[in-house]
Amino acid sequence: MIGCGIDAGSRAMKVVLMEAPARRVISTARADQRPDQARLADELLERALDIAGLGRKDIGRIVGTGYGRILIPSADTTVTEITCQARGVRDLVPDVRSIVDIGGQDSKVIFLDDQGVRDFAMNDRCAAGTGQYLEMTARRLDVSLPELGRLASSSRRPAAINSLCAVFAESEIISLLAMGAATEDIAAGVFRSVTLRVAALAGLKAGPPVVFTGGAALIPGMELFLAEALDRPLTTARDPQLTAARGAALIACDQGSIS
């Protein structure tokens, strides 16, 4: 039996196919989100099946997760990204106690104990502290996200960016540019502001081991900024953008094995 997890995030769609008995990932696919996400989910599923040399009939169960989870018609059931993220990360780091996830429009901190999710915190109606904010900054500075990461890491004097709102922060960046601030200092200021927002969600409760996930975890330098903001060491998950889809695939395998 093959279990399939589809994570319809706000910025990217991710698919993970998993072999049920071994709980082994056999193929993955990802693509940027677009308006017709039901079709996108199907295309990605086909792509993942092609890679694995399998057909649709081989899939026993599909679990949808992520912000767009209710808009995936092929999913047999849906589970929130919090439960899926926790499941996927525990599979990789069994004794994980805190997960920090920075995605496209959400950032969240999940606290775990031996039984799984114990508590969680998410950002409110606001893009500060999310991937959107980083993308906006990259656009303003006319660099790619990986370049933004490298710039931020090279700064010696991060600019102070105080706005609690991504829209106001954009104005702040424009002012900083107008005053001749170095792009690396602006980038570092933004990284610091994003990671401090996320650290505020975690409060003082993020016990070790801390694992970093989400699309933002792919950006070079982000891990160091986050560790500094949280004031504790952390590790970035393997394939950090795929962990929620992995968790969904694991749940699909569990559910498929029962029925």
Binding site: T80, G116, D119
Partner: protein, 405 residues
């Protein structure tokens, strides 16, 4: 087990309270025509008994509409709680008939937002402000509050040219005690393993005007029908759903008429709200007034002074209430609702979380939002994740599995 009979919706008590605003409109209009004054109130601290004893009709004016908020923001700061803004929006737009009929508006010095909003409203409307002492356990605080209630009685006597005798006060106390008893008995039905109502339906059983005979009769009908085995459509008692919804205790700010989005969202995610601690739930119903005390006004004042609102410091009574409600209604999780920019509830949520996690040993989720539905999908993720967490942990724990079976 006997299969419960689904409540007929056409003439049911639930349908009666579904038309609550219309009934109150007719009642207030008729009362006005009879010469009874209308007194607008905006907080549970207002002693309704004194207003009733003056022959007046107390009407709750708390705004639950998103529509009136833009008007309010032309005058008040945008970063203010939606309840205050909505109420004030009606004031500016002059489109709440109950406020327009009000011969007097009564308010208290509770939170700063309300206090200053009342002050602004009083520029154009007759208003009486009761000063609420805010140290809940200060020995002389009750005496001070009783004095405020006495001054309020004199103010009503002067304004409406009536004398409020102890006989009228006692009658009002008995009437309000009866209403509180009935509403508490209804709320108690939610303690069942399979409650005969949803939390959203329970929230319907209230009125912005207290003491209307027809309402009291319908509360009684409802209790009788539910005790005889009826269940409201969609309730756990009606559906016998497997698995049963997760039992949730809601605490925090009130969900006034029109502002029920969050409880609907919570119950759509697989929960049943078995108890509501807020001012639109059980908080005002848990204590009655002694009808034969040496000093009636003091007895009235004491009941109201005991309300555990977050404006009080230290508000230990709220935590006691939560412990009591948790033992009585057996929730599996606690969800706290905080209206955006409600500073006192927001800050106090820290103590509530601590009480829920350390004393009740339950998962806790805080929802901070306003009247706009724009964040509903995001809030649903949190509530669903909470429900998943409760279910997953229950399935890992054999004792809890048995309790949920």
């Amino acid at each position: 087990m006997r299969v419960p009979e689904t409540m007929n919706m056409e003439n049911s008590p639930l349908a009666h309270f579904g038309r609550m605003i219309d009934h109150c409109y007719d009642y207030a209009e008729a009362s006005k025509a009879e010469g009874r004054p209308i007194v607008g109130i905006m907080c549970e601290y207002t002693p309704r008994e004194v207003i009733l004893a003056a022959g007046a009709v107390p009407v709750c004016l708390c705004g639950g509409s998103l529509e009136t908020i833009p008007a309010a923001e032309s005058c008040l700061p945008a970063n203010l709680c939606p309840l205050i803004k909505s109420t004030f929006g009606y004031h500016l737009r002059r489109d709440n008939p109950f406020l327009e009929w009000s011969d007097l508006v009564v308010a208290e010095t509770t939170c700063d937002g309300k206090k200053k909003m009342f002050e602004t409203m009083s520029e154009t409307r007759p208003m009486h402000i009761l000063e609420l002492p805010q140290k809940a356990d200060e020995p002389d605080a009750l005496a001070r509050w009783t004095q405020e209630v006495r001054k309020f009685k004199s103010a009503l006597e002067g304004r409406f040219r009536v004398r409020i005798a102890d006989g009228e006060l006692r009658a009002a106390v008995l009437l309000m005690n009866r209403e509180r008893d009935l509403r508490r008995r209804l709320a108690d039905l939610m303690a069942r393993d399979r409650p005969p109502l949803t939390g959203r339906q329970m929230l319907e059983f209230k009125s912005i005007i207290s003491g209307i005979a027809a309402d009291l009769e319908q509360y009684e009908n409802a209790i009788r029908m539910f005790e005889e085995g009826a269940a409201a459509p969609g309730s756990p008692g009606d559906r016998g759903t497997v698995p049963p919804p997760v039992r949730v205790l809601m605490t925090g700010v009130p969900m006034v008429h029109g502002a029920e989005r969050v409880i609907e969202l919570v119950e759509n995610c697989g929960a049943i709200v078995v108890a509501q601690e807020s001012c639109t739930g059980l908080k005002p119903l848990l204590e009655n007034i002694d009808a034969d005390p040496p000093d009636l006004l003091q007895a009235i004042a004491a009941k109201y002074y005991h309300l555990p609102c977050s404006v009080m410091t230290v508000n230990e009574r709220r935590l006691e209430t939560l412990r009591y409600l948790s033992a009585r209604f057996r929730p599996e999780a606690v969800i706290e609702l905080v209206w955006h920019a409600c500073l006192t509830y927001d800050i106090e949520s820290r103590q509530v979380r601590r009480c829920v996690e350390n004393d009740l040993h339950l998962p806790y989720l805080k929802i901070e939002t306003d009247y706009s539905p724009s964040d509903s999908a995001r809030l649903a993720v949190r509530v669903e994740a909470l429900i998943e967490t409760v279910r997953e942990r229950a399935s890992n724990d054999p004792d809890m599995r048995k309790a949920r079976a």
